[in-house]
Amino acid sequence: MAASLDWVALIVFVALFVLVTGLGFIAARWRKGDLGLLDEWGLGGRRFGTVVTWFLLGGDLYTAYTFIAVPALMFGAGAIGFFAVPYATITYALMFVAFPRLWSVARKHGYVTAADFVRGRFDSRTLALAIATTGIIATMPYIALQLVGIEVVLAGLGVHGEWPLIIAFVILAAYTYTSGLRAPALIAVVKDLLIYVTIAVAIVVIPMHLGGFGAIFASVDTAKLTLASATDSNMGSQAAYATLAFGSALALFLYPHAITGVLSSSSRNVIKRNAVALPAYSIALGLIALLGYMALAAGVKDMPQYASGFARFGANYAVPALFLQVFPSWFVGIAFAAIAIGALVPAAIMSIACANLFTRNIYKEYWKPGCTPKQESQMAKIVSLVVKLGALVFILAFPQQYAIQLQLLGGIWMSQTLPTVIFGLYTRKLHPRALLIGWAGGIAAGTAMAASLDFKGSIYPLHIFGWTIPCYAALSALALNIAITVILSVVFNAATRGRTRVDATVATDYA
């Protein structure tokens, strides 16, 4: 019963939680460095090798919310939820090609954030501020959503009230403060092992319960099993699916927490090897997505014992209900701990990434340019606390729907930093003012599209030459952004011919 306390599951859950809390504090002494330096606290000293980076990025990109929301989308909407799989296929190709360049230039000049790079490359404080602010604002709701992941499993365990969530977050805040990026890096190892065990068991045990994969897919409404076909004038959900996968893939590595993970690695080859090895998580994610269909086949939706969970969390309760239905209590404890710990790792990295951005690109740039390295790292530690506290208050004070809608907007906004950050890695020809106006135009257009959909979705139908093309708003806004940037760059560069801009970087820095 979801409503009453499941003691066995709860004890296993709490034991695992205590274990990672210990690891979080011990992490401060792991690969010891001077935690009074931002490089050490906020990037782990840029010393993480292939294996640690693999766990760190895997723990970072595949969040608890992903584990809850992707199967929930499959459970509710069907095939469209599977876009997470082609999305990952594309994003690692981008990681492989572009991000070793960012790593090299960041290492050379001591850049800790993407906005640091923008500041050096384009010599524009305003453009750097725009990039930093976008990153912070897009990441905050993402942290809040990790809390939803914890809330869902706590409800599944029969734990009520707000205090367990508050305790979990205070602990998280404390070890992030003391250990910096080392804490999530170490905890990610435990988290990933738990996730892999859970998936391996789920993918074998659940189909056995339900009569095999044939029976599972047979229980899905045929119309939802594939994407709706295109008609003569409407490209239908196939276009939505492809643009969603492509647009999300472009945005993923622009997020501050992804960039923090990339910059903390010890060499450019570590990044390339990880682009090869990280797809292992995508297979896991694909299998997790199928849990949504398994929940359909198990019929948990209509069982009275899960009614209160579905009433409170909607489709997000599908996976916890499925686990409660088919697993013995002790394994429910392991699986739920995997999800909850899966929320702590990205929440820690995201808050560190936001702290790095605020400290480097707002505090040091505008407020206290002469601050010592020690003051800089102290500021970052405090900001990481404030950011997490903000997320906690947000999730407790406002309806969950707000965080979900803001996260959706965040993806659209984050994409608009692509011309500055990614194109900037390859060319200095784009004019900073053009990039800034393009960024503003993209954000305005993307927000307007989302607003016209009442912030309920991000697939905006474009009408081109008599065709209706449902397109992910981030992608169409980005196209507008790029067009503005290129056209205005030509204009501004022509107007300022002869005058050269200062570029702190040279071509060799990127190699």
Binding site: V85, A93, F96, F217, L225, V276, R428, D503, V506
Partner: protein
């Protein structure tokens, strides 16, 4: 504008290598929905739509691994 000085190291201009174009194959394979938006041929009850896309995850990793192996080694940078 700042240009690289003459005595810059050899890998100064990491030139575009055509082998990277192979990456367009997994990207295209993952995005061309009309090709894979179907139920048959299914394997052990899993519709084509699902196993095809899952299959491309390791295939794209193999493509990336192949490209990684063709990279000139960065000596002394490990």
């Amino acid at each position: 504008m700042t240009q690289d000085s003459g005595n810059a190291p050899k890998r100064a201009h990491r030139r575009f290598r055509p082998v990277y174009l192979i990456l367009l194959i997994p990207v295209f394979a993952a995005l061309w929905t009309p090709f894979y938006n179907r139920v048959e041929p299914s394997i052990a009850g899993v519709p084509f739509f699902y196993w095809y896309q899952l299959l491309w995850v390791p295939l794209s990793a193999i493509v990336l691994f192949f490209i990684y192996r063709t990279e000139p080694r960065d000596k002394g940078r490990e």
